[in-house]
């Protein structure tokens, strides 16, 4: 038990600390790296709960794909983060006020829910009900009870993909693209031109 407790406090501390560093780091690349640390420790917390499938999902999807994508975007787009921060002190009072209101509301809602909301009456979720591993349970539910949502979510992603392609793909006439068929079909006749140059004249082209 103490090993579990130590692991929990360690992972929780690292998650919170790196989460704080994500927003306070000066260098955006460092922010993304701290974000990866936060995801990783959160995955560790999931393992402690017995939800190993979610843990692996978090690592594969968030660390493997999303965070790396963030890193690419941060490196490729030339965003001047110093300029973005310039109004920070001026906007601090009103921003802080909004933040305080939001925190107060969240505390009120959480307190209400935990004291007499429906969530308080339900037992803690069991990671492996009836001894079935949670990967299998998720699979069973996802493709039977929730198959409608699953398919609809697929359609939403399809729309996002179509939208990205419609709005960004351009067939400009002047672009030189690689066409392997064309390259292979090249013969000396099409690739070469023999020109007789008269002395004292250049090639007119």
């Amino acid at each position: 038990m103490p090993v579990q407790a130590i692991a929990f406090y360690l992972l929780a501390f690292v998650t919170l600390a790196s989460g704080l560093l994500v927003v306070s780091a000066k260098n955006p690349v460092h922010s993304v790296l701290f974000l990866i640390t936060a995801f990783f420790s959160a995955a560790g917390l999931f393992v402690l709960l017995g939800a190993e499938f979610l843990a692996m999902l978090l690592i594969v999807v968030y660390v493997g794909a999303v965070a790396v994508l963030f890193l690419f975007v941060v490196m490729m787009l030339d965003i001047d983060f110093a300029a973005l921060r310039q109004g920070f002190v001026n906007n601090l009072p009103i921003g802080g006020l909004v933040g305080l209101v939001l925190v107060g509301e969240m505390i009120a809602v959480v307190a209400a829910v935990s004291s007499n909301g429906a969530a308080a009456k339900q037992a803690l979720p069991n990671a492996s009900p009836g001894g079935v591993p949670n990967t299998e349970v998720i699979g069973r539910v996802l493709y039977t009870d929730y198959v409608f949502f699953f398919q609809l979510a697929g359609l939403v992603l399809l729309v996002a993909m179509i939208g990205a392609i419609v709005l960004t793909l351009r067939h400009k006439p002047g672009v030189k693209r690689q066409d392997i068929g064309k390259q292979v079909a090249r013969t000396p006749k099409t690739g070469m031109e023999l020109v007789q140059i008269k002395p004292g004249e250049g090639i007119s082209e």
């Binding site: 809602v109 829910v113 007499n116 359609l155 939403v156 399809l158 729309v159 179509i162 939208g163 709005l167």
Partner: protein, 481 residues
């Protein structure tokens, strides 16, 4: 219910999804849009409408999807309006050398999303349907990416739409937290018991209503509408103003009627305020507009106000009046934007009121049709706009509630104010000196415009004979969660 029986209930969505995938692959490999492609898209939408009418009724996947008379009614209107949008949009984009096969695919996918929201029985299906529909509409708004205004419209729609989705989701999560379920029937049960967490539940309901009001562009949340309508391609605007509004009104009816009948007194106040604000914002802000697309954006805000008044009246009469109102309004607005799209001067769209000067001499048919739509929107007796408002006000007064009766009176005042800008358009078209020739309208747009205009004046009198009972049967389906 067996697994396959569930799927037989969602047949309209399956037909459309398969059609969208097939058309996507066909378009990607063929690369260009022919008449067969457009025809196939229209055929798929018509087939889906037919399955929505003829298919079995019931609840699928444990009640998250409801196929009932209301869903059938809304789906037929949504799918038909989408089919018109496919035809008009393809022509319009082709005229501007910007034809894309993705247009029809996105309209179909948006129709799937709208269909799902129209038959949502659960907060999750409501939200996923909203997202599917909205994502497709954002892309449609930005379809002409070389046009700065179209891109602006798309971006604005996207950012504000994402905000409204956030509000919707926040409300949904609060409701889930306080009731322990996302099912409308379970929520209704928990809401009826009220108790200590009633206030929290209302908190969630208010957020949910705000999110839905954004989607339907009701008054305090209407700011995006004029800018998006002005920038987006004209046939797309005609689509925006018609089908998604009906889908969003259906969401209002589903959430409030199925999940929160117990909190009727609370949400009725919110809806009445939103409705009256919409009517007056639409009437007064419309006075200052010179661009017709912006003008009709404000007109649509005002009309949404009347439909919300119908929902607020509640009960079968109120919901029936909303359903009749929305269908009549959809036909009017589709016809108006079809006419607007048919009018070009030297290959450029005519979009301002000054452009319409003396239109009756250049294009008498189109001018006559637009006059009919203006008179209908104004609410002159034999036109369809009169009947739609008539049903709403009748339902509002029949409630016997003082607040609803005052709301009906104020709504009437608002429509008198709005009459100014409709009459100004008519005056400009009929009595001002023309300033230039008008290109020949495209046959499909003209046909849709004329058909809608004919519906607006004489046909509506006969169509009401079956539209009214159909809406009545649809309204009876609510509240049985």
């Amino acid at each position: 219910m067996t697994f396959s029986a569930n799927f037989s209930l969602v047949l309209p969505e399956i037909v459309l999804a398969i059609a969208a995938l097939v058309l996507l692959v066909a378009g990607a490999f063929r690369g260009k849009v022919g008449p067969i492609f457009t025809l196939a898209a229209v055929a798929a939408l018509l087939a889906a409408a037919a399955t929505a009418v003829l298919g079995p009724h019931g609840r699928a996947f444990g009640g998250v999807y409801v196929a009932d008379a209301a869903a059938s009614y809304a789906k037929v209107a949504i799918y038909l309006s989408s089919a018109v949008a496919v035809v008009l949009g393809d022509r319009w984009l082709a005229q501007r050398g910007d034809q894309k096969f993705e247009y029809a695919v996105l309209v179909i996918l948006a129709a799937v999303g709208m269909g799902v929201t129209a038959s949502a029985g659960d907060l999750i299906s409501l939200y996923v349907g909203v997202e599917l529909q909205s994502l497709a509409l954002y892309v449609l708004a930005a379809m002409r990416r070389d046009d700065a205004k179209s891109s602006e419209a798309g971006l604005k729609y996207f950012v504000l739409g994402a905000l409204s989705s956030g509000l919707l989701l926040y409300g949904a999560s609060l409701i889930y937290g306080f009731t322990g379920s996302t099912h409308f029937s379970q929520i209704a049960l928990a809401a009826a018991h009220g108790g200590a967490h009633g206030a929290g539940l209302l908190f969630g309901l208010v957020f949910l209503i705000c999110g839905l009001a954004f989607k339907v562009s009701a008054a305090p949340f209407h700011m995006w509408t004029p800018d998006v309508y002005e920038g987006a391609p004209t046939p797309v605007v005609g689509f925006f103003a018609a089908a998604p509004k009906l889908a969003a009104m259906m969401m209002f009816a589903r959430v409030l009627g199925d999940a929160f009948p117990a909190a009727g007194d609370q949400w009725r106040q919110i809806l009445v305020i939103a409705a009256l604000l919409s009517v007056f914002v639409g009437a007064f802000a419309g006075l200052a507009q010179s661009n017709l697309k912006r003008l009709w954006a404000y007109s649509s805000i005002a009309n949404v106000g009347y439909a919300l008044l119908g929902v607020a009246a509640g009960g079968q009469d109120g919901l029936q009046s909303m359903l009749v109102f929305m269908v009549l309004y959809m036909i009017d607005v589709t016809g108006f934007f079809a006419c607007l799209q048919a009018l070009n001067r030297d290959g450029k769209s005519m979009e301002t009121i000054e452009d319409m000067a003396g239109l009756v001499k250049a294009r008498p048919g189109v001018a006559l049709a637009m006059t009919a739509f203006s008179l209908s929107a104004l609410g002159l007796p034999p036109f369809s706009g009169f009947w739609s408002k008539f049903f709403v006000f009748k339902a509002a007064i029949a409630t016997g509630d003082v607040m609803m009766q005052w709301a009906a009176v104020l709504g009437l005042v608002g429509s008198v104010v709005a009459a100014f800008y409709y009459l100004r358009l008519i005056k400009t078209m009929w009595f001002d000196a023309p300033n230039g020739s008008v290109d020949a309208p495209s046959p499909s747009a003209r046909a849709v415009g004329f058909a809608a205009a004919l519906f607006s004046c004489p046909i509506v009198l006969f169509a009401l004979a079956w539209l009214e009972p159909a809406a009545k049967a649809a309204a009876a389906a609510f509240g049985h969660a």
